[in-house]
Structure formats: C-alpha cells, structure tokens
C-alpha cells in the first residue's frame, strides 16, 4: 500500500522496541468481543488506473456540462485564471494546517494578511477575518456578533428577501439560543426591503437588521437608507453579500453605513464545486474586532525586529476560552481564502473592474433584448446587478424550463422552490462567462428580440 511506508521488517523492529509480539496487543483496551470485526463486506482496494476509471464513469453520469447554464442564486460561474489553480495547488499551501508555528508558516500567514487587506478594500470595512464556512453560516455569525455587541438585546430583524437557505441556516442556529428572529417584509413591486415595516418592527429589545444586497431577487437594496433607519433607532445594520463580484461594481457596504458585512466570496476564484467548499467572509467596523469569530492574522516583529505575521486575538477562540468562546468554529475555509487572494491579485484592479462591469452589462443587455417578449417579463428592471427575476406570463414555469432543457439550456432557478408569491418566476444570472450568442439564444427561446 503506497501510503504505508513501514516495511514488515520495520514493524518487527518497532514491536521489539515497544516490547510486544503482535501489533494487536496495542488494541487490548478495546472491548475484545467487539474488536477486530470482519471488513469482508466492503469492496476491495482499487489501483490508481481503476480509481480514475471509476470516477470518470461517475462523472459521466453528470450531464449538466452539456448545457449552457444561467444558474446563480448564491454561487456564480466566473472565469478563474489558470494560474490560480497552479499556485493554490502547491503542496506548501494545500498541506499545512492552521499556522500554530508561525516561524515556519509565514507563507500562509502573509498571504492571509494580504487577503484580509484586499477584502477590507473591497468592503470598505476596518477589519476582515480570514474566513468562515460559507455565506449562510456567515449570516448566522454576523447576527450573533451584532447581538454580542448589543449586549442585553436578544431580538434580530431579518429581511424576508434574504437568501432562503441563509434563513434556514439562521433558524437552525438560533433555535437553541436565547435569540429571537423576526422578519421584515419587502415590497413586491420593487423587490426592496420595506423601510416602514422595518421602522415599525424595531423595539427596545432589537439588536439589528440583517439584509442582503443585491438581495435574493437580484435587487440592489437602499443600503444607506436601511443603515440610517437602523442607526436612528440605535440598532446595527448588517449586510449580506452573496455575489462578491457586486462589491467591485457597487458602492461598498461601509460607505452605506453598514456596521458588519458577511457573505459568500465564492465568486473570487472558487469553483462552483457542487456548492462546496465555499468561502464565507466577514468584515466589520473596528469596534467589533475583539468579538469577531474566526481567525485573524496580525503583523508583528520577531526577536530581531524583522516583519512577520501571527494569528492574533486568539483568546477569543475555543481552545483557550472553551465554553466562553465567541464561536465554536475551528477548522475553517483557509485554503479557499488563499485561492481568493490569488484570484484577486491576478485579476488586479483592472481585471476585476472590467469583469464586474461585464457582468452588469451582459445582464442589462439581456433585460433590454427580452423586453419585447410576450412570453416573459423581467420583474425588477431598475436596480439589478447580474441577476434578475423573470416572470413567465400566463404559462407554467416547469414546462418552459423543460422546453429550454431540451435545447440544452438551464435557464434559471424556479422561485416557487422558495416563495409562494413567485410561482411563475425564475431567477436568471448572467456573468462574464456568457457569450453574446448565449444570451441571444436565451432571449430568443424566451420569445424576445430577433
């Protein structure tokens, strides 16, 4: 077995050093009537060529690649420079663990420090941590962070147009804690959070509002007004960003007065990967720094005064604080954060700016072209970034999606999975990977332009 380097001779010598005859003796503390069971029911070992064949066959059972896809809804298709795969695949980045010995981990640590810096630039926040699991758990961590800071308060308001899976995760997380979630309605006409409803629902026990922008319906929220309303009432404004590419194109959360931003940064060089691993991120104003979950890398000096990096503020973490820790998160998504840093560095200011703009212009082109269709209608035509809700007029969504599937198009996500009021709607995402011909074909199939 290639991963077991001990030879029979080694084992024999080692047993002698230990003072045993058989390796089995080392396991004598295990209840012996239960130990050494038969593994006969399991398959036999496969060689490397057999493994490749097996998984190639499994992969061929997937047919999605034969389709042009417009699926978004939380993870997005973007171009990732090949060089990112090359450098992130290096063993020095892939095979260490958390940098507990910083003197031999400066590569990961400096790269993390640079990642924190770039995420701070993109969000405009004072401080960004080095990763959370994903956008959904990130949203939950954001709520818990705000409530820790708000002290005695235990109620949080959640925008109803937040990613539905994030809402599910939040509900799961808070169920057993002494926190209460209440929901703020959104205006079905504009797709935006209802500010009046927000005002009405804030009470003395409310710690903050969690909203997503662009929201799950693809609509850019009035982040500045939401934050203003929140601050006027003495509560925190927490924004979720599900499509990190939008950070490049839109006014950053900090400029809108947001206190904490959390979200999903998969768009920055992380493959779709069937939805994981992803990259949760968190940024916040300085005042939250000491309460933040997840790891933080800080700059320091060594005993000779040279620049170096360490994990810092680790007294927040569970291995030290145990039951008083700010979160139970330990293993995180560090390698995904490294990949994101490599992606951001490679794309650079110009690459990102151009790409973010192409996403929006492709979407704007789609909206314009499909406008003359009598089959479908784009629901929110004003404040979208790269994702729009398309209403199927008088028809049924399933048969339209099936028709498009027959033409090898995955047109979008049926919103009836998540909302009662949107049963005739699909969510369509356009990015820089779509060619003009892809968009034209989609438009034509939806009965527009020509």
């Amino acid at each position: 077995m290639r991963y077991l380097p001990l030879t029979e001779k080694d084992r024999e010598e080692m047993r002698k050093s230990i003072g045993i005859k058989e390796t089995k003796e080392l396991f004598s503390d295990i209840p012996q009537d239960k130990a050494f069971y038969s593994l006969e029911g399991l398959p036999s070992a496969l060689s490397e060529p057999e493994l490749i064949k097996t998984f190639r066959e499994l992969s061929l059972k997937n047919t999605y690649e034969d389709y042009t896809s417009f699926l978004g809804g939380g993870v997005y298709q973007h171009y990732c420079p090949e060089v990112v795969n090359y450098i992130s695949g290096r063993g020095e980045f892939l095979t260490p663990y958390t940098p507990y010995q910083p003197e031999v981990s400066q590569g990961s640590l400096q790269a993390m420090f640079e990642y924190q810096t770039m995420m701070a630039m993109l969000t405009g926040m004072d401080v960004c941590n080095s990763s959370l699991y994903d956008g959904g758990t990130g949203a939950a961590e954001g709520v818990m962070l705000a409530l820790r800071k708000a002290r005695k308060k235990n109620r949080f308001l959640i925008a109803k147009n937040l990613h539905p899976e994030h809402i599910e995760v939040l509900e799961t997380y808070v169920r057993n804690l002494e926190y209460k979630l209440d929901y703020v309605e959104f205006d079905k006409e504009t797709g935006k959070l209802d500010l009046e409803d927000l005002k009405n629902k804030i009470d003395d026990n409310t710690g903050g509002i969690l909203f997503q922008s662009p929201n799950f319906l693809g609509v850019i929220e009035e982040g500045d007004k939401i934050s203003e309303t929140a601050h006027d009432a003495g509560i925190y404004s927490v924004q979720v960003v599900s499509e990190a590419m939008s950070l490049v194109y839109l006014t950053p959360p900090a400029e809108n007065g947001v206190d904490i931003v959390v979200g999903e940064a998969q768009s920055f060089g992380i493959p779709l990967g069937f939805g994981g691993p992803l990259l949760g991120f968190m940024g916040a104003k300085k005042e939250f720094m000491r309460q933040m979950p997840g790891r933080l890398v800080g700059e320091t000096i060594d005993s000779e005064g040279n620049r170096g990096y360490v994990l810092t503020l680790s007294t927040r973490e569970q291995h030290i604080k145990r039951e008083r820790a700010t979160s139970n998160i330990c293993t995180n998504q560090a390698w995904c954060a490294l990949r994101a840093a490599m992606y951001l560095a490679t794309m650079g200011k110009q690459g990102l700016t151009e790409t973010a703009k192409t996403n929006h212009l492709n979407t704007a082109y789609f909206v314009k072209q499909v406008a003359n269709s009598s089959k479908v209608k784009v629901k929110y035509q004003k404040d979208y970034y790269n994702e729009v809700v398309v209403e199927v007029l008088g028809g049924d969504v399933d048969s339209l999606l099936k028709q498009l599937e027959a033409k090898k198009i995955l047109a979008g996500i049926p919103l009836k999975w998540f909302y009662k009021d949107y049963e005739n709607c699909i969510l369509i995402n356009l990015t820089e990977i779509h060619q003009k011909s892809d968009i034209d074909q989609l438009v034509a199939e939806l009965g527009g332009a020509q």
């Binding site: 084992r11 980045f93 095979t95």
Partner: protein, 481 residues
C-alpha cells in the same frame, strides 16, 4: 541563504499592470439603469501585478511554509497524514464541478458519490445513517448536539446539562453552549480515562449527553466505554462521540457497537483530505437509526429512477449549511477509501498506533509521561523536570526542519507535547524526530539559553505575539504621503 519574506504585494503594485487574460466584452454598451450614486468609483490601492509577478510572489511565500509535503508534521489531534495526489486530480475533474441547483437528473454522478460515501462511513462506524453536510469537525459537533437536543425535546424534555471530560477536545464545550446547554466537566482518573463511578455521580435527570473524545486527547482509549454508554442510557442520556481521532481504530472496532448514539468524523483527518492551512474540512455525523429523522436537510435518497434530494424534513434540525456541504472534500475522502479498500483500512490504524507507540518507547526514558495507559494514535509527554519549556523545544525542532507536536494541549498535562505521527511516516522519519528530540534535550541540559532563544534557521526568529495583540495591525495601509 536564509529565506526572507517577500515584500507585501501592495508595495509591488504598479499602475496599469494586469495578471489576467480577460474575455472580450461582446455586448453593446447599454446605459446602466442604476443611479450613478450607487456605482463604485474606484477600489483604492488595490494591487496591480503581472502574471509572472503573482507566480513569483506566491512561490516565494510557499517556500516559507512547512507542510506535510515538505516534512514530518506530528500535530497531535490533527492527524496530519499524507494527502494523496490522486485525490486532487479526481476532485478537480471538470465534470464534477456542477452548480448545486442543477436539475437532479443532470448531477446523478455527484449524488451517487455522496450516497456511496455515506454508505462507506456507515459500514466503518456501524452507525446506519449519515449526513455529510457539516463543514468541519466543530460544525459536525454542533449538528450532532442539535440532533440530540431535537430528540430529547421530542421526548418531552431537552434537559439542561452536557457532561464533558477534562480530556475532551477544546471545541466541545463551546459546541454545547451554542446548542443552549450548560456544561459540566468530568475529571478523568489517574489512568487518564472516565471512571464510571465518577460519571454516575454527575448523572441526573438534567443530563442530556456526554461528549466523549475517543481515544481522548491523551491518546488513550476510553476502555470503560460500554459501561459509560450503559450508565448514560439508563439515565435517558445519550453518548456523543467526537471521532476526530478515528484514525486510531478505523476498521478495528465500530463506534456503533460501543453504544455511541451520535458520532462525527473529520474527513480532513482520518480520511486524508488536505488541511489547506486551516480548512476546508468536512465533518459528517453518523447516528443510530432512532435519530435518523432528526438529521439536517438536504438528504439524498436512492430511488428506482436514480438519486433524489429531499429538502424538507419537519422533524429534523433544519439546515446547517448552504447547499450540500463541502462536496470537494467528500470526493477526496471517497477516492481514499476506495484506494484503501477492505484490505487496508485496519492496517492504517495499526500502523498509526504502532508509530505512536514506537515514539513513546524511544522517548519515555527522556521525557515525563504523566499517563501510562496504553497509547493509541498519539502520545502526550510533559515538560516536567526539564531545564527548558515545551515551547522552547518546539521552536528548536523547527531548526531541525521538523514540525513540533501540538503544544500545551491537553490542558490537564503540564507543558503538554502531544505527538501524533500518523501511519504515513516511515521508521526513518520517526528515528530522525526521536534523535532530534534527544539532541535538543542534551542541548537544553548544556545550555538552556541556547534552546530558549530558538529558532535560528527559520525565515523569521521567534515572533512577538504580545506586540501583535497590542498593535493589532490587521491589514496593510498605505504610508501617509
């Protein structure tokens, strides 16, 4: 020449440089419907580098890292075994990289991979139902404890207290708190394990569960586990097992046969997936049949028409993560298990335990071993009676090109050195480590200050953590002009 840290990329950035080859925009420039005030003007100071500069920057950073690929990495409790390269190739297969909302008919291969892995894990652990969704060990703990709470609530009373041995993993208490429980620490006996009589003193109607790490953080198997699980069950409480250390007995005994009700595994430990500098991981949980209905969504089901996904389960704990979890990690783990096959699964545990015992036998004459029970996958020494501290030895090891063990954990051992070699290390590597330890101890007896000031040959010398915590420089900022 000693390797140095490269300049931060922000200082290398020059206006106008680009590292990517961008697709040409093909659509006509339509005016955006978004108000001007909502569009970002600039990302100030964002780096601009060419491709070759990016590659060199990260290659030079890579050279500053110790990793499993570059050398021995015996971090106790972390199972830093070799990460097979074939796993990477297969996990990166183009045709596995689907969007999670693709129609199920178009992703049958991916669903089959997940179901197959669930089945393998069930076979190895003796627990019939698995969810692969949790993103890491601690996330699995959280999910598992939620399942327990959901079950007890359904029975009429969630109860209040979770018992945690003092030799358990550090994440366990935090997990219990996040599930709405309070915790009580149960002391281990002089053998380093849970004493059934002591446990019974803690058992009452408020106790929801015991979270047992097994083998515990002393590397000792909880040999009373059958009596422990019986005592718990007699009290209407459940046994949660932290299976982070499953590498010690994979294929030797099934936790399901020992009275374990809920178990989490770490695919990034026992099942060989890379640690990535801190993640991603994957922390599946397995449960007894009675608890299956409380598992989180989504659930994958096999039917006559292929694999389907169940998104709704009113009795379950709900959703704990977006989509399906860390699919890429699951693929790697399945490749590993298929390569091991029935012939090698138990051999992994045997060699892992043999390696740890060899280190124990060779270093016991030199170091204090506070708990003398049988060693499984890791051995924990203390720095008692040494002229230098554990941290000094750890830092000096770096000069020998070796990564030290986990240090100062578990907390119940003074100056703990928790050494987990794993099965993927050769006898030559173990001997190199043993000899280095002996040399360092000799150096320490002769000249403690010399060891105390280590390391000497690393890219940076000992780093000032207090300075970092005091100044809190958490990002680069441009120098004031």
């Amino acid at each position: 020449m000693k390797k140095r840290l490269p300049e931060l990329m922000f200082n290398k950035s020059r206006e106008g440089k680009l590292g990517a080859s961008l697709p040409q925009r093909q659509v006509p420039e339509t005016p955006s419907p978004i108000e001007e005030s909502k569009i970002r003007k600039d990302i100030e100071n964002f780096p601009q580098l060419s491709e070759v500069e990016v590659v060199r920057h990260y290659t030079n950073l890579a050279h500053l890292n110790h990793s499993v690929d570059s050398g021995f990495y015996p971090l106790g409790s972390c199972t830093m075994k070799y990460n097979p390269k074939i796993n990477e190739k297969i996990a990166n297969m183009e045709r596995l990289n689907a969007h999670p909302y693709s129609p199920h008919t178009t992703v049958q291969g991916n669903l089959e991979i997940m179901k197959t892995l669930e089945n393998w894990l069930s076979d190895i652990t003796g627990l019939p139902a698995f969810t692969l969704t949790p993103a890491a060990g601690a996330h699995g703990e959280l999910t598992g404890m939620m399942v327990i709470r959901q079950h007890l609530t359904a029975q009429g009373n969630p109860r209040k207290v979770v018992l945690i041995p003092d030799s358990a993993h550090g994440t366990n208490p935090a997990t219990a708190i996040f599930c709405g429980y309070t915790t009580q620490e149960v002391p281990s006996n002089e053998e380093g394990i849970i004493e059934v009589e002591t446990l019974k003193e803690y058992l009452n109607e408020d106790v929801a569960a015991l979270m047992m790490t097994n083998p515990n953080t002393l590397g000792i198997f909880e040999k009373n586990i059958l009596e422990v699980s019986k005592a718990l069950h007699d009290n209407g409480s459940l046994l949660y097992m932290d299976g982070a250390n499953m590498n010690a007995f994979m294929g030797i005994v099934k936790p399901g046969d020992l009275g374990v009700d809920v178990l989490h595994l770490n695919l990034h430990k026992t099942f060989s997936t890379p640690h990535g500098g801190g993640g991603p991981g994957c922390g599946p949980i397995g449960v007894v049949r009675e608890l299956e209905k409380y598992l989180p969504v989504p659930r994958i089901e096999e039917s006559d028409n292929g694999y389907k996904v169940q998104y709704l389960n009113d009795s379950g704990v709900g959703r704990i993560k977006n989509f399906y979890g860390n699919f890429g990690v699951m693929v790697r783990a399945l490749v590993y298990l298929m390569e091991l096959g029935k012939e090698n699964i138990a051999r992994v545990a045997e060699d892992a335990v043999l390696n740890a015992n060899y280190i124990r036998a060779k270093l016991e004459p030199d170091l204090d071993l506070p708990f003398k029970s049988k060693t499984f996958h890791e051995v924990v020494f203390s720095d008692k009676g040494l002229p230098v501290k554990t941290l000094d030895i750890a830092k000096r090891l770096l000069d020998y090109g070796l990564h030290p063990s986990t240090v100062y954990f578990p907390l119940i051992v003074h100056g703990a050195m928790m050494i987990e070699p794993t099965e993927t290390e050769s006898k030559e590597t173990l001997d190199e480590y043993i000899n280095a330890m002996k040399k360092i101890l000799a150096e320490a007896r002769e000249n403690p200050d010399f060891v105390h000031n280590a390391p000497y040959d690393t890219p940076v010398r000992r780093l000032d953590e207090v300075y970092a915590a005091k100044n809190l420089i958490l990002k680069w900022v441009p120098e004031a002009e």
